[in-house]
């Protein structure tokens, strides 16, 4: 049992970029932990398409299931199916993206495999130890995994997306009969509904430019009026500080920070964000950071590459106009 199983996260068959980042981590883990093959599992609507796609990335054997059991994501049947695939494909290591569903399901897989769980890793050392952030990213821990079975979730921003490489050959349906308890799922409840805050803008997690607004925006209306045009001029995703989310200016899944999303775009523009530690934890690995704040002592300026001390209501619209001019 020394293969590495990648949990393929996808959106109706479209493989998430973060899954390719997790694959890079899986390749590094295979090297450091002397694994043999990388194998994979995809579940839910479009799983077959996603599974086939992964054959191009050097994944030797892929299993998928589009059984109605997996129509909507639920942790229990997903965990059982991933564990089943790990057993069938001889994997002692399971790797997946630390998205909200990855974080939700993979520790359950760890229990089913009697494995150690290491979450949100940002590096793999040659000796097999792992790097992961603690204390809102103020401390990096090197951890040793002491169990022969291991489940790992991966912070996408810390690994480049994997490139294609040949080698994949086998893609087939997962035989669910391997786990009779999978069919007992009604006792685990049901999904009643979703409230999706999707727009036309890029996904926060993958965007190459992110503009984030803070409490200084003052209201949901000004957040929208100032931040949306700036985001659209730059082709950016919109993020928010926890203070802005708490004040109801922006939905929670836009929250950038320790307990929200971690982003590392090429350009991060913080508008009216003071820079609390827990916000910095979510964006300080961005390539270039711009901060706009009228308080010259705002902590955000300590990590910004370009600091504009000014009233955001004056300069943010000007920035929007000038960027439009450039791209016009």
């Amino acid at each position: 049992m020394s293969n590495v199983l990648l949990y393929i996260q996808h959106d109706n068959g479209k493989v998430l970029k973060g899954t390719l980042c997790a694959l890079t981590a899986a390749r590094e883990l295979r090297t450091s932990w002397n694994g043999s093959d990388i194998v994979a599992i995809a579940l839910g609507p479009g799983a077959q398409v996603a599974a086939q796609e992964m054959l191009k990335f050097g994944v030797s054997r892929v299993r998928y299931s589009v059984d109605p059991l997996f129509e909507k994501y639920r942790s229990e049947p997903y965990a059982r199916a991933i564990a089943l695939a790990a057993r069938e494909l001889g994997a002692s290591t399971v790797v997946g993206l630390a998205s909200s569903s990855g974080k939700d399901v993979l520790p359950r897989v760890a229990v089913l495999l009697d494995a150690a769980q290491a979450s949100d890793i940002i590096g793999v050392n040659g000796d097999g130890s792992l790097k992961r952030p603690m204390y809102a990213g103020n401390i990096i821990a090197e951890v040793e995994v002491l169990s022969p079975s291991r489940v790992v979730t991966v912070r996408a921003t810390a690994f480049a997306p994997a490139s294609t490489e040949g080698g994949g050959s086998e893609c087939s349906e997962l035989a669910l009969s391997g786990d009779p308890e999978l069919r007992e799922q009604p006792r685990f409840g049901e999904v009643l509904g979703y409230e999706i805050s999707k727009g036309d803008r890029p996904e926060l997690a993958d965007a190459s430019i992110v503009v984030s607004g803070g409490r200084a925006l003052g209201s949901a209306e000004s957040f929208e009026k100032v931040m949306f045009p700036l985001a659209d001029a730059l082709g950016a995703a919109v993020g928010a500080s926890r203070a802005a989310v708490d004040s109801g200016y922006a939905p929670n899944d836009w929250q950038v920070g320790q307990t929200g999303k971690v982003v590392a775009p090429n350009l991060y523009v913080a508008v009216g964000i003071s820079g609390a530690i827990q916000h910095l934890a979510g964006m300080k690995d961005s390539k270039v950071i711009v901060a706009i704040n009228k308080d010259p002592d705002a902590p955000i300026f300590e990590i910004a590459d370009y600091a504009l001390v000014a009233d955001l209501f004056a300069v943010a619209p000007e920035l929007t106009e000038k960027v439009r001019g450039l791209r016009g």
Binding site: E76, R108, Y135, G189, V191, L192, Q258, I303, L308
Partner: protein, 252 residues
């Protein structure tokens, strides 16, 4: 209807507002004299349990924590908020989420609990995994990252904070629920309640008595502080910013 008992596991963590110092060999953080708090997300769990009790849904709130004797003070704080009793599982050695999940599972089995309600992540180790491990271990339904919890007729309807928005699920009890930030704003424990909390039932037990072995599956080897970003510079105008982003940083 019989009373509904709820188990709230809590962790004490260093106050997020203090600047942490590492031990010289990097084996841990300096804990002498530092201020400890109840993990932010666990405090939200305690608050939610109290609100469920105030609504008449929950009849008894039991806290559990794992750690050395001085964790008692944090448990007393949660008792002062309004929990009914506390169990301290004394353990002085290293712990990980796996050990915590085994302890919580054993405590759960010894009581007649309808729900385990805890924070989605501890703000020291930042893993976000203990609730899921507990649910898996007990083979219970889980509802993680909750921003709303409604309990009725043997089920919990939970709104979850997920990538892309909100998801609402309905799970039968007993179940495991982990709390996200927007679930509620915890109350402060009033001073008179802090005094009264010392008289609430408080049980100290050992790992041994629970039949839980102390080994861990993940060991922290060393801690380091990440390199700081190098200081940037001030720009005087929007035009100067645009020039810098185009010509210097080359990101526009």
């Amino acid at each position: 209807m019989l009373g509904m008992k709820i188990l709230v596991p809590v962790k004490r963590v260093p106050d997020w507002q203090i600047k942490l110092k590492l031990l010289s060999d990097g084996s841990g953080i300096q804990t002498d004299g530092i201020k400890w708090i109840l993990n932010t997300f666990d405090e939200i769990a305690v608050e939610e349990a109290i609100r469920l009790k105030e609504k008449g849904v929950v009849t008894e709130i039991v806290l559990v924590s794992i750690g050395p004797e001085d964790v008692r003070a944090r448990l007393e704080y949660a008792l002062a908020m309004g929990a009914d009793s506390a169990i301290l599982v004394k353990h002085d050695g290293p712990a990980d989420s796996d050990l915590a999940s085994r302890v919580i599972a054993e405590v759960f089995k010894k009581g007649d609990y309808s729900m385990i309600l805890l924070g989605k992540q501890a703000i020291d180790s930042d893993s976000n995994q203990t609730a899921q491990l507990v649910a898996g271990r007990l083979n219970l339904p889980q509802a993680c990252f909750a921003s709303k919890v409604v309990v009725e007729s043997g089920c919990a309807t939970v709104t979850r904070e997920v990538d892309g928005g909100l998801e609402t699920i309905k799970v039968p009890m007993p179940c495991v629920v982990s709390t996200d930030l927007r679930l509620n704003e915890p109350r402060y424990a009033a001073l008179p309640n802090l005094m009264k909390a010392k008289k609430k039932p408080f049980e100290v037990v050992s790992l041994d008595s629970l039949g839980v072995s102390p080994e861990v599956k993940v060991r922290v080897r060393t801690l380091t502080t990440p390199g700081a970003r190098k200081a940037g510079r001030k720009v005087g105008s929007v035009q100067e910013l645009i020039d810098a982003l185009q010509n210097e940083a080359k990101v526009l």
